[in-house]
């Protein structure tokens, strides 16, 4: 029963949402939306599991004084601080929570995003080493697209931007759509496997 009940629930609810796409009756739509809201409520309980997971793992590291245990202490302090500030004084603009979020977390997020520029440069340096004809074609196409995207491209040749657009709209788009079609079919296949119970790994052990 431990495996059969979840499989039946999965199949019935999956079939319900597939049917919702084809059934235009407002009552049926309301049923589907209600069940969707139930799912959101259940998912929100998972945050308790997440916090418990963080607390369990990091307090274990702190107790055992493993390497960098001080940073785990900072992590737990930050978690506790934001929970207390959020629950105690709210999260709207003007609250301490909002101030900490915008002045501590937001700049750190921007810093991480900014690292992308340097990582793209290092990745591109490795990617454009011409060791085969495919790599050569990649490098030439990438350089053509980069030049076509900046004003100097149009200065060199007035149709450079149009040529770049053609590369993006024709061969690149064709390849992208081919991958998208394959991925979409794979996604449908996986979804059907899960709904029909062919794929049960996510349920856990017997």
């Amino acid at each position: 029963m431990r495996r059969e009940v979840p499989l039946v629930i999965c199949f019935l609810l999956g079939a319900l949402f597939i049917a919702d796409y084809f059934i235009s009756n407002p009552t049926f739509d309301r049923i589907a939306q209600t069940i969707n809201q139930w799912a959101i409520i259940v998912i929100s309980f998972a945050y308790v599991l997440g916090v418990a997971n963080i607390a369990r793992i990091n307090t274990g590291v702190i107790k055992r004084r493993e390497k960098d245990w001080v940073f785990k202490l900072v992590l737990l302090f930050g978690l506790l601080l934001m929970v207390i500030l959020g629950i105690g004084w709210g999260i709207r603009e003007g609250t301490v929570f909002y101030w900490v979020y915008m002045n501590a977390y937001y700049p750190m997020q921007a810093t991480m995003f900014a690292l992308l520029a340097f990582f793209i440069a290092s990745a591109a340096f490795r990617a454009f080493r011409i060791r085969s004809w495919e790599a050569g074609l990649l490098a030439i196409t990438a350089i053509a697209v980069m030049i076509g995207r900046v004003p100097v491209g149009e200065a060199v040749w007035k149709n450079f931007p149009n040529f770049t657009e053609w590369i993006m709209d024709a061969p690149q788009m064709a390849a992208k759509r081919a991958i998208m079609i394959g991925a979409a079919l794979g996604a449908i296949s996986t979804g059907l496997k899960v709904l029909t119970g062919l794929e049960r790994t996510y349920l856990g052990g017997d």
Partner: protein, 270 residues
């Protein structure tokens, strides 16, 4: 006249939206393909699946981590369980956990969404059970990091730099953090295998990782690794559907060139 008729079927029956009948027919045909090949697989007919280098590399990566005595890092993407790529990633995680258990290699699974935590724990535990080593399962191997994209990325990068995993396996839905994680992993010298159906991140994985699994191959991993006939059958069904789509595309292009539009219009989804 035919196209006018097809596009203007009134929804007389309030329960069924006839404007979407083309989607239902397509889905039904696809399902029939899957059932046909599953039936063939059940009868014992062997189904050829081409070799996918990236999937063979998963076992190679696990073996390398075992030889070096360093852990495996498995990153299941940043989306929640409502994303089919995360579901596929959890399936792959079960197979990877079984390999890790067999070779007695530590496994670290950082998670971005709390709802994925219990699913990942079950998948890993199931893997250890399947390998016959349930006592070796470490429940601290699955770690919830953060819901926030770049906080999660910072946490994963920290794990890579501190714990120095020998193998980084990244399967699931990724966005801007893909290159940050892949480049950090590259700098630590780990062997990296990545797979995603988010095409905008594929170039970054191709550049930074040793092996990349592209789009549909992500959904084929489970069938490829387990070699279970029913799963292989669904793979063949998808391949037949792709062939039919290619024929439809060529036919559609020819008909549109001849200014015959009803064929193209039939596939229009309202």
């Amino acid at each position: 006249m035919i196209s006018y008729f097809i596009l203007n079927i009134p929804s007389a029956i309030p329960w069924f939206d006839f404007n979407r009948i083309n989607v239902l027919i397509t889905l039904a045909v696809f399902f029939c393909f899957l059932l046909y090949f599953i039936g063939r697989a059940k009868k014992g007919k062997s189904l050829f699946i081409r070799r996918i280098a990236g999937l063979d590399a998963i076992e190679e990566a696990v073996g390398r981590a075992t030889e070096m005595g360093r852990p495996i890092l498995y990153i299941p993407g940043i989306e929640d369980m409502d994303n089919i790529q995360t579901v596929a990633s959890m399936i792959i995680l079960g197979n990877v956990a079984k390999m890790a258990a067999t070779y007695e290699t530590p496994l670290i699974v950082p998670i971005c969404r709390p709802f994925v935590v219990p699913v990942a724990e079950e998948s890993v535990q199931q893997g250890y059970l399947a390998a016959g080593k349930p006592d070796a399962y470490d429940k601290n191997s699955v770690r919830y990091i953060s819901d926030e994209q770049f906080a999660y990325t910072a946490g994963v990068n920290g794990i890579m730099l501190r714990e120095r995993p020998a193998a980084n396996l990244m399967f699931g839905s990724f966005f801007a953090e893909s290159l940050l994680m892949a480049e950090t992993g590259f700098s630590t010298g780990a062997i990296q295998v990545a797979g995603t159906a988010n095409i905008h991140q594929l170039p970054f994985f191709v550049v930074a990782c040793d092996y990349t699994i592209i789009g549909e191959e992500l959904y084929a991993v489970s069938a490829y690794l387990s070699k279970e006939p029913k799963l292989l059958g669904t793979l063949k069904g998808s391949d037949l559907a792709k062939l039919v789509i290619m024929i439809i595309l060529v036919l559609g292009a020819i008909l549109i060139t001849a200014n015959i539009l009803w064929f193209k219009n039939w596939f229009f989804v309202q």
